[in-house]
């Protein structure tokens, strides 16, 4: 049954990849959606069965086959469903289904073969993501981990004829390689240290040990694993690929780069909570990096003009929150935020996609405005998402974000709490800046003429906003369902139910933080105030008094430039890493080592073989009896030897 969950989308992939050229758009869309929806149904049934189990032993395992056996080391292709992966598969298949449905409309202008290709990738992604979250050991997880990376690359570069898209795809892939290098090292370290790759066995092995007070083996391993997580989940210093990944189709951004794949790092840490709990040093680093990323990305998000990039930085920022939660040991809070975030961030992306779709590819906020009346469904659903992410009470984001901040504070990381709170403010500000710029006011054409010089998206030649169509039915359905989810998803966490459900997954060590009711209430109030303050600031500067915003921008022109250029991180990376590597590779490795040494060895081997053969071929006379004679000579010698002995 568990196998069915990833298998169904995989079958969908096979169908679309194999016969995509021959079937109509409707057929390939139906296959893909059918596969993922069926997978969702199966997941739901599986989770229902899981919930029916005794809370103490809430897990379903299914050994599909033995993958590797070598000596007493054996890795099975085993799937395991426990509360944590239950949350994940529901998010992946549920939100995945909505995004598939949304895509049938969004991608409708693609030719049928491209359409099928898109859906085959999407299905493949779902399959790998499900393998990732269902895997019961590091190897299976790694299979999914790399698989989603591959799909991410394929989908970011989906419009591969566009230079920037294919570059972005490569960037995503290469940056992820750096992270994966750390991940693989971490996994190898685990194998060396514990002799197994199974999550359960590792957890059981490490549970009796006391946490490392100094930086030791476990800390090193977890740190390496965290390097992998920073790559996959776009944290400092490897977050740079995510904003560029917005070159992909918007539903892809929603599914892969907001709701699911990028949360893999968070999931991975949650999955190995016991392990990480034994490496407090690493956890501190995780918390700091998460918090820094959250703040850092939030500031960049403030000034971006591309609607999707704002959302991308917002995603990075929110992921930072999740890592902050993980770092302070609030695993359940982190996963809870992962879950709510999946709803509202997918919603925001899909909403932005609806806007882009309506404007025929326009992505620059400065060319929008006043869409509120023309795209009512999009507006209201988008607003719901924005409110949710900003942390307004009653909406999903409030519950989870507040939980994280509360846990951070109560675990004693006051500084981190302060930065998190500030980020929360920033979140509200940039989110509502986005809402106001896109939907309120009047339509503008303020952006520098070629907003996207290399723009080649289909039908990009804007049919001058004569009459804009709101989201067509499939998109509207997805938006509405997600909007409802963004509002109500948070209630799942009321009274610690969500946390309680997840408890078995993080079991033995979830630090019982003394829940001081009064502190919590105070913190909650602070959060609410901050959220509303952020919305207020945004309303003031971007709706009521846009001139003030311009003034502010002029006053802090340097800072603005710095932010707009994303702290020049890409440029720094280019100068510090990319160029030196390129120069070394080209003049040193290629022209020096490869041409002289490697080619020299290869050619030398060739020449040696040729020369030797030239001598040896004289032995091949073709005379059968000469061969027979040599054979018999050997027989006589061997027989003689044994007789002589």
């Amino acid at each position: 049954m568990l196998l069915l969950i990833p298998l169904l989308p995989f079958l969908g992939f096979l169908v679309n990849a194999g016969f995509g050229r021959r079937i109509s758009r409707a057929a390939s869309g139906a296959v893909a959606c059918g596969a993922i929806v069926a997978s969702f149904v199966v997941s739901a049934v599986a989770v229902a069965r899981l919930v029916g189990l005794d809370p103490e032993s809430r897990a379903l395992a299914e050994a599909v086959f033995t993958w590797i056996t070598s000596g007493d080391f054996s890795v099975g292709f085993t799937l395991r469903l426990d509360p944590l992966s239950a949350v994940m598969i529901l998010v992946v298949t549920g939100i995945g289904s909505l995004i598939h449905i949304y895509s049938t409309a969004y991608m409708h202008e693609e030719p049928p073969s491209e359409y099928a290709r898109y859906f085959s990738y999407l299905n493949l992604f779902a399959a790998f993501m499900l393998v990732l979250v269902l895997g019961s050991n590091f190897l299976v997880m790694f299979l999914g981990w790399e698989g989603v990376g591959l799909c991410s690359y394929l989908l970011v570069g989906f419009w591969y004829r566009k230079q920037s898209a294919s570059d972005a795809g490569k960037k995503a892939f290469i940056v992820n390689r750096i992270g994966d290098w750390g991940f693989v090292l971490g996994v190898l370290g685990l194998f060396v240290r514990f002799g197994t790759l199974d999550f359960q066995q590792i957890a059981r092995a490490i549970a009796p040990l006391s946490p490392e007070t100094t930086f030791g083996t476990v800390s090193l391993i977890t740190l390496l694993l965290f390097v992998g997580a920073t790559g996959k989940s776009a944290q400092i210093p490897l977050y740079v690929w995510l904003p560029d990944a917005m070159e992909g189709p918007t539903p892809v951004s929603a599914l892969i780069h907001a709701a699911t794949m990028v949360t893999a790092g968070v999931y991975m840490i949650g999955r190995n909570a016991v392990l990480f709990a034994h490496a407090p040093q690493t956890l501190t680093i995780v918390a700091i990096i998460g918090c820094a990323t959250a703040f850092f990305a939030g500031t960049i998000g403030l000034v971006q003009n591309d609607i999707k990039r704002v959302l991308a930085y917002s995603t990075v920022s929110q992921l930072g929150y999740m890592f902050l939660a993980m770092g302070v040991g609030a695993y359940a809070a982190g996963v809870f935020h992962l879950y709510t975030h999946a709803f509202f961030k997918a919603l925001l992306f899909l909403g932005s996609g609806a806007v882009i779709h309506a404007l025929h590819g326009e992505q620059d906020l400065r060319n929008m405005g006043g869409l509120k009346h023309e795209l009512p469904i999009t507006y209201w659903t988008f607003l719901a998402g924005a409110i949710a992410i900003s942390g307004v009470p009653g909406f999903a984001g409030f519950f989870s974000k507040d939980e994280i901040l509360a846990k951070t504070f109560t675990s004693g990381h006051t500084l981190l709490w302060a930065v998190g709170l500030l980020t929360s403010l920033l979140t509200a500000v940039y989110m509502f800046r986005l809402v106001y710029m896109a939907f309120h006011g009047t339509r503008r054409r303020a952006a520098p003429a070629p907003a996207h010089p290399e723009e080649e998206e289909p039908a990009a030649h804007g049919a001058e906003h004569a009459h804009l169509h709101d989201a067509p039915a499939p998109m509207a359905i997805a938006l509405v369902v997600l909007a409802i989810g963004s509002v109500v998803a948070g209630y799942a966490g009321l009274g610690g139910r969500f946390e309680h459900f997840l408890e078995p997954s993080f079991a033995p060590q979830t630090a019982e933080i003394a829940a001081d009711g009064s502190v919590e209430t105070t913190l909650m109030l602070v959060s609410i105030v901050v959220a509303f303050a952020g919305i207020g600031i945004a309303t003031y500067y971007f709706l009521k008094n846009t001139r003030a915003a311009a003034l502010l921008a002029a006053r802090f022109a340097g800072l603005r430039l710095l932010l707009q250029n994303k702290y020049y991180v890409d440029e720094i990376y280019d100068a510090a890493l990319v160029q030196p590597i390129r120069i070394t590779s080209e003049s040193g490795l290629w022209k020096g080592v490869d041409v002289n040494v490697i080619d020299g060895i290869v050619n030398g081997v060739g020449r040696t073989v040729a020369g030797t053969s030239d001598v040896l071929r004289r032995l091949q006379t073709g005379s059968v009896r000469a061969y027979a004679a040599s054979l018999f000579f050997g027989v006589v010698l061997i027989l003689g030897y044994y007789l002589w002995r």
Partner: protein, 169 residues
């Protein structure tokens, strides 16, 4: 014992002459003589079945085939190059080497056999009944027997394909 030496002498002499002959027809006939002697030895070993099928299969079928080919090609004398004209033992390098190897092999084998002191007299109780052999052949060795039939079919088809003329169609 005398009979054994008679048959052995015939077998060895005939075999030697087989390889010393220049005319393949004589080689074939001498080989048949050698087979006849071996057949006699099989009778002495109380294996009359083997003795008879030695004659039927080897002398009656395989050697006829050889004779046929020799007659068909009819080229025993035309094909004599230098090596065929000189006596086998006078031939140059490799052949002499091969001959020496053969002699060395014989010496080694005889040495190996005489190294052991005991002479290995035959105990009583030979299986000479055709019925017993047949029973074994169709029970214990049934699979091998069937495989052999497949082998024969394959050889038959192979021989036909190989020997047919190019302009067969």
């Amino acid at each position: 014992m005398g009979l054994f030496y008679l048959f052995a002498a015939v077998a060895v002499l005939a075999s030697l002459l087989v390889i010393a002959q220049r005319n393949p027809i004589y080689s074939v006939l001498l080989l048949i003589a050698s087979f006849g002697a071996l057949s006699g030895l099989y009778v002495m070993l109380e294996a009359p079945f083997v003795a008879v099928i030695q004659i039927i299969v080897y002398a009656g079928a395989i050697m006829v085939l050889f004779l046929f080919v020799v007659m068909l090609l009819n080229a025993p004398h035309e094909d004599t190059d230098y090596d065929e004209r000189v006596h086998p033992l006078m031939r140059p390098g490799p052949m002499r080497f091969g001959g020496v190897l053969a002699i060395a092999l014989a010496l080694e084998l005889v040495w190996a056999l005489t190294k052991r002191a005991e002479s290995g007299r035959f105990a009583g109780g030979a299986v000479s009944s055709v019925a017993a052999i047949g029973r074994l052949l169709f029970t214990q060795y049934a699979f091998a027997f069937e495989v052999t039939s497949v082998l024969i079919i394959a050889a038959m088809v192979g021989a036909v394909v190989l020997a047919r003329r190019e302009d067969w169609r």
